[in-house]
Amino acid sequence: MRNQVLEMAVKAGAGHIAPSFSCIDILVALYYGGVLRLGSKNPKWVNRDRFILSKGHAAVALYVVLADLGFFPVSELMTFAQNGSRLGAHAEDTIPGVEASTGSLGHGLSIAAGIALSAKMDKKKYRCFVLLGDGESHEGSVWEAAMFAAYHRLNNLIAIVDYNGLSATDFFKNYLEIEPLKKKWEAFGWEVVVVEGHSFKELLRVFNNQHFCSSDNPLVVIALTTKGKGVSFMENNPIWHYRIPVGEELEIARRELLSDK
């Protein structure tokens, strides 16, 4: 899947490769690990679980997953960011399987909280999952939403923070630290679990844990990840937030991803 992301971005000369590599294992755990109760046969099924990609710039990864699951044709993937394509660098609600348009950070948690609240109002069982970037914690609106979700006891809301330590230009500890992140979420009234974000075993252990489903509080999973995971020279290197490899770099990236397979 990482290789598919790479090839789409390379062809388009657009898309966020390293941020997608950071969170793609989380997407795979959610969509293939029996966590999200939904399917492409009935994408608007009223009781489906919802997923919001608040870090909308990882849309290229989400599109690879959704196409593979049949929400739209796999053949469409290579139109990514080409002239006239509906697939672009940020998630659009016009794409089958995408619940909300995102791309501007700090929006997704509020939207997800609204969806979770609606489920409560209608006494429906579905849950809402939302994936945030860690740098997104700089947005004040995230904490407005965090306060709201805890007060309204939205225990059907599960936030996941893709915690790779990097934002668009730098390690944020060099300019605006977000630690202590776990304590912040706890102080806002959330259940907090920290997991290894590239371990399916750990992710699924948390996502399928009944304890959290029975808690009154919303759950945040802080997933420790590596930005650019899977390509050695991209990993933990700030310059790769929005850069497309060319020439020898591209060959190395392809080789590493395919051998990894």
């Binding site: 619940e99 909300a100 948690l109 509020s110 939207i111 609606s118």
Partner: protein, 323 residues
């Protein structure tokens, strides 16, 4: 006939309350901003009422999430906070996704005159006008505010309703006279001059009209209660035969109804001479009553009458033959 002693805010929310009693999908969210009628919501429809706190960005996002899930959502705050604090959430979460959320704002223009520029509603029309898919309503009295609450319930997509704490005496006697698809009301026909006004300035326009007519300037009044989308063609049909056209609004002179009418007029040949009247583009740092601030900004009935009179007398300002 209903006796109107309430302002347009309470008329709007009373109307909404009556709808919400019948439709459990109607949700009202306030950012810690009150109205008398909200008490009934709180007491009798507590599952449909949320005070979300002083958190307007979250208010818009939560409204979007509710609307995605099938709810019909109304959100409420004072003009600057309902429009500016959360502008980008409105743009992406409501307009981009075309969700049925109605933004209800209170405090048009200098309505909160004693609260200073932080609370003045002077740029909101400009902001909302630039958003794709946004409909803008600006009622001129309590009767039409009551009516528009029901219009917003039926209408898809995002809406912005700009309310005033006043709303009486009434301008309309009967809601059957209000044509939403038309978007404006011809309140008084004119032969020489038309004033297109919005919100409570419609009431002022009617007073100005009396004074101008006494000076043999036969003046008509249009209530532009639906600012976007503008029904430019039908407005043109009404105003094209007069020599002079004025817009009157309690909003900065840039970006409001003066601007939207200008955009329509520049596409026409032989348009009437045009004068937009609004608030000069500067923060008002003086306090006092609304009437006082209107005087300071030359928006009171006397100043508006005088400025129109002088403008018309200056023949050079018109490319039509003077009256």
């Amino acid at each position: 006939m209903k006796r109107w002693v309430e302002g347009m805010r309470d008329a709007f929310f009373r109307s909404l309350y009556n709808l919400a009693r019948k439709d459990k999908d109607i949700i009202l969210i306030t950012a810690d901003t009150g109205a008398i009628c909200h008490d009934e919501f709180k007491q009798n429809l507590s599952n449909q009422y949320i005070n979300i706190g002083i958190a307007e960005q979250n208010m818009v996002g939560v409204a979007a999430g509710l609307a995605i899930s099938g709810k019909i959502v109304y959100i409420y705050a004072i003009v600057p906070f309902a429009t500016m604090r959360c502008y980008e959430q409105i743009r992406v979460d409501l307009c981009c996704m075309n969700l049925p959320v109605t933004i209800v704002s209170i405090g048009a223009g200098f309505d909160y005159s004693t609260l200073g520029p932080t609370h003045h509603g002077t740029e909101d029309i400009a902001l909302m006008r630039s958003l794709p898919g946004m409909t803008i309503y600006s009622p001129s009295d309590s009767l039409i505010a009551d009516f528009l609450a029901r219009v917003c319930y039926r209408q898809e997509g995002p809406k912005y309703v700009r309310l005033d704490r006043t709303g009486f005496p009434l301008i309309y006697k009967d809601e059957k006279k209000i044509d939403v698809s038309k978007g404006f009301s011809l309140l008084k026909k004119g032969k020489d001059l038309y004033i297109i006004a919005t919100g409570r300035m419609v009431y002022s326009a009617l007073q100005v009209t009396k004074k101008l007519s006494a000076q043999s300037i036969h003046t008509g009044v249009i209530d532009l209660f639906k600012i976007k989308p503008l029904n430019g063609e039908m407005i043109w049909e009404v105003i094209k035969k007069v020599g002079y056209l004025v817009t009157l609004e309690e909003h900065f002179i840039t970006g409001g109804i003066g601007s939207t009418i200008t955009e329509m007029l520049v596409t026409k040949r032989n348009a009437p001479a045009f004068k937009p009247i609004g608030i000069p583009v500067q923060f008002c740092r003086r306090y006092g009553t609304r009437e006082y601030l209107q005087c300071l900004n030359k928006l009171d009935i006397g100043s508006v009458t005088k400025s129109i009179n002088e403008w018309i007398k200056n023949k050079n300002n018109s490319h039509r033959s003077p009256i």
